[in-house]
């Protein structure tokens, strides 16, 4: 028991009541203080769950937690924070209307309710931390006006000012990792959750691998190779896929044509977006031809989401087109029918479906008034037999784990994404608009989704793909359009010369 004074999790079990998934199955972990720990695993391996348990956000069904040798009870994030354990979530929770300063106050340990807020001393405090870690903030800035990375930094700032000893970071961006490195040098413990095995090996001291809710082992990074790690994460069979990624497709795309096929999607000088935020685009012109994938890469809240919404014609009350022309199959956004244009939105659980409704009900949404679903073509009453048949076909074709009557919520994230993709592709549309569909998914599911898209693409479907993941764009696209602060920097052919780094430099 060399880690007697560190963090120990013993026999942690957790089953989610909502979908009966065993997220943690008898996990026991020892984490030595003062080190950089990496938790890796596929989607649904239980990485976030075990760390949410450690940060008091989720209560385990059974198991014990020791901190510095003493048993602790963590029933609320407050408990963990009081011990000095803080977590920054992958999906940030923040108050858009409040300022950086107010966020910091809300994160403070001893709130004195009736005390007047002392802006000056807090600002001085912020300035001091910013100076130490070389970041810049205006305390009066509202957090809704910050970009995604700065928001992460605000959350980190709050933890630092609370004198947190153990930092848990769920899929942090590079900027946060850099500060984490500094914090570690000061003796703080860092726990990073990531998909990325390169990060894992280059950053961490110790790597812990989870698979399917069980512990696969902990290793010192100096003693292992990427291949070994991939093998532990995926199991023997699939590890090659993780190492090669989607890159295998690049070779047959190297003959990328100069001229695109018959253009199906045409954008001419399009401007607009959410006029109350940074999420806007200006003067965007591009074309997507038959049988090709154009990936638009950019930062989500910096024009990417706006462009997606404008092209899909979604949320027109928020995202307004101020000028320019959008034509899809010669029609305006949103005027095409479900068998002409398929849309896979970026928010899988809000825009993508109704969680309490069944698989069938979520599936038929776009073609709910299609006569093929009714008992007879004259009476608009649903035929259960026909509905069931459609749903069963889709479940079989996409090997979705779940039954037709299950609620969407009882499916895992990957299966939900499969369902949403299947819905968009079911009527073999000529154009597919899709956004970040692989976000947070494991390699196997990702491959399944892109293979399904590939089949229709080979029959002439044009794909407009919005993503913030440069690597996914390189793996899947024929051409890549790079968006920077709402403007199109350039559109390049995706040849072997294109690297993530070169695109990343153009984006930022």
């Amino acid at each position: 028991m060399k880690n007697h004074e560190g963090i120990q999790l013993q026999h942690i079990h957790k089953t989610y009541a909502s979908n009966q998934v065993h997220a943690c199955d008898d996990i026991s972990l020892s984490l030595e203080l003062g080190l950089k720990h990496i938790i890796v695993g596929e989607n649904g391996a239980g990485k976030s769950t075990i760390m949410k348990i450690l940060s008091g956000d989720i209560r385990p069904d059974s198991g014990k937690i020791f901190y510095r040798g003493a048993p602790v009870s963590l029933t609320h994030p407050e408990d963990a924070l009081n011990l000095g354990i803080g977590m920054i979530h992958q999906v940030l929770h923040f108050f858009p209307e409040l300022t950086v300063r107010e966020h910091l106050i809300l994160g403070m340990k001893d709130l004195k309710p009736l005390k007047k807020i002392d802006s000056e001393s807090i600002d001085a405090h912020i300035a001091q931390i910013c100076k130490t870690y070389n970041i810049s903030f205006s305390p009066d800035e509202k957090v809704e006006h910050l970009d995604a990375v700065s928001r992460q930094l605000t959350a980190l700032l709050a933890l630092i000012s609370r004198n947190v000893e153990v930092f848990i970071l769920d899929e942090p961006p590079q900027e946060v990792l850099m500060i984490a490195q500094r914090l570690n040098e000061e003796g703080k413990t860092i726990i990073v959750i990531t998909h990325n095995i390169n990060d894992a090996i280059s950053f961490g001291d110790e790597v812990t691998v989870l698979r399917g809710g069980t512990l696969q082992g902990s290793y010192e990074t100096s003693t292992i190779t990427r291949e070994f790690l991939a093998n532990r994460i995926m199991g023997d069979h699939d590890s090659q896929m993780l190492l090669s990624g989607g890159k295998k497709r690049l070779s047959h795309q190297s003959d990328s044509r100069d001229l695109i096929g018959n253009p199906l999607v045409i954008l001419e000088h399009v401007s607009g977006g959410d006029l109350d935020s940074q999420d806007q685009v200006e003067d965007i012109s591009l074309e997507v031809g038959q049988g090709e994938t154009l990936a638009v890469v950019g930062i989500r809240d910096n024009g990417l989401k706006a462009l997606e919404s404008l092209v899909a014609g979604y949320k027109q009350s928020t995202y307004r087109q101020t000028s320019g022309r959008i034509r899809i199959l010669g029609k305006r956004a949103r005027e095409s029918s479900y068998d002409e244009v398929g849309y896979i939105p970026s928010e899988r659980l809000s825009t993508g479906g109704a969680v309490s409704m069944s698989v069938i009900e979520n599936l038929i949404m776009p073609w709910r008034r299609d006569r093929a679903l009714f008992r007879s073509s004259r009476i608009p009453i649903y035929s259960s037999k026909r509905l069931n048949k459609v749903a069963k076909d889709v479940i079989r074709d996409f090997s979705i784990k779940g039954s037709t009557q299950d609620s969407l919520l009882s499916l895992s994230g990957g299966n939900i994404q499969k369902l949403i993709t299947a819905r968009a592709l079911h009527h073999e549309p000529q154009v597919l608009i899709c956004a970040d569909i692989s976000w947070g998914l494991d390699i196997k599911t990702r491959e399944a989704l892109f293979n399904a898209i590939e089949v229709l693409k080979s029959r002439g479907m044009a794909v407009l793909f919005f993503t913030s993941e440069v690597n996914t764009a390189i793996d899947e696209a024929d051409r890549i359009a790079i968006l920077r602060r709402g403007r199109l920097v350039s559109i390049i052919k995706n040849t072997e010369k294109v690297t993530a780094q070169s695109i990343g430099e153009m984006m930022l």
Partner: protein
């Protein structure tokens, strides 16, 4: 199986609550309890009245279920019943005396249109000006209630009657009776039909599907091009029409004239029924019988002991609290 246990548990808890209340307020709780439970079924008159009350409650509950499923709160039921019943009665009085079936139909339709129109105003305001329908429907209802009171007791008052009431409708407007001498008419059949039709629309047809999606997830509804205007206004319109129907049926089957305050409480009871039935139109039928039983049970118990009418109010509130607080659900997941 667990479902059966669940309902059994609910019934036991329900009985315990009633008994506890009786214990507190009645000198002879056992006798009062017996009156309460068996009273409604002791004679045809009481049983028929129970059915008659249930019929109106089914229609009100079904209507509220529809607006709840669309995520809309209609707190204006009181006036939607009351005012549309008055309008229906006035139209009925204006028709020739022997209008018979045709006259009944006209009264019903006019009342439904009036109820729908009142509720639609709140839907329109919600869609167009983002005014919360919960507040606007309540305020409009508050205004209309006193206006209706005024019209009945002044403008349209039957000067020959001691009551504050309009003139009576001629007998050709009476709905056929089922269990004389009780108040029960064919309303119970109409009510069950309405509940079934709306259930069918909700779960088996595209319009109902769209409305449920709209109620559950606005983003998903927008993704699927579901009109937010239609499903902010239509559910309230249906809800209002149901209340109008309830008002008309009360006039045509029991009251035969608009009397001041005759429908008080049914708007709120509609909400209670919808909540007990988890917004499922078919389930409003048992829920309505439960509440009608509490109501008639209280009345029969009242005759025999010192139980007062407020008891049904208290029981109703308790049922509502129990159902929403999900005492049962928690227990089930623990076991």
């Amino acid at each position: 199986m667990s479902r059966l246990l669940h309902s059994l548990y609910l019934i036991v808890l329900f009985i315990v609550i009633i008994f506890t209340i009786l214990l507190l307020i009645s000198p002879e709780p056992v006798m009062a309890f017996e009156d309460f439970v068996t009273g409604p079924f002791s004679n045809i008159y009481n049983t028929g009245n129970l059915f008659a009350i249930a019929a109106i409650l089914i229609i009100c509950g079904t209507g509220v279920s529809i607006s709840f499923q669309a995520g809309l709160f209609n707190l204006g039921g009181e006036a939607q019943i009351y005012s549309s019943a008055l309008v229906g009665t006035l139209v009925g009085l204006a028709l020739p005396e022997g209008s018979g079936f045709f006259g009944i139909l006209v009264v019903i339709i006019i009342s439904m249109i009036t109820g729908a129109a009142i509720a639609t105003i709140s839907g329109f305001l919600r869609y167009r000006y983002h005014i919360h329908e919960l507040i606007s429907s309540f305020l409009l209802s508050g205004g209309l209630l006193s206006l209706t009171d005024f019209l009945i007791s002044n403008t349209f008052r039957d000067s020959k009657s001691f009551l504050q009431t309009t003139s009576k409708l001629p007998e050709s407007f009476y709905l056929p009776s089922i269990l004389p001498p009780s108040n029960l008419t064919i309303t119970i059949l109409i009510a069950c039909t309405v509940a079934c039709i709306l259930w069918f629309w909700l779960y088996k047809m595209a319009g109902g599907y769209e409305m449920r999606v709209f109620g559950l997830n606005k983003d998903f509804a927008e993704f699927g091009n579901i009109s937010s205007r239609r499903y902010t206004i239509l559910p309230l319109m249906i809800n209002g029409a149901c209340f109008g129907l309830a008002g008309a049926l009360m006039i045509l089957s029991t009251q035969h004239a608009a009397i001041v305050g005759f429908s008080a409480g049914y708007g709120w009871n509609g909400i209670v029924i919808a909540l007990i039935a988890a917004n499922n139109p078919i389930m409003t039928i048992p829920a309505a019988f439960l509440l009608a039983w509490v109501e008639t049970g209280t009345r029969t118990a009242m005759a025999g002991s010192s139980v007062s009418l407020e008891m049904s109010e208290v029981i109703r509130g308790m049922i509502l609290l129990m159902i929403t607080l999900r005492f049962f659900k928690n227990r089930r997941s623990r076991s």
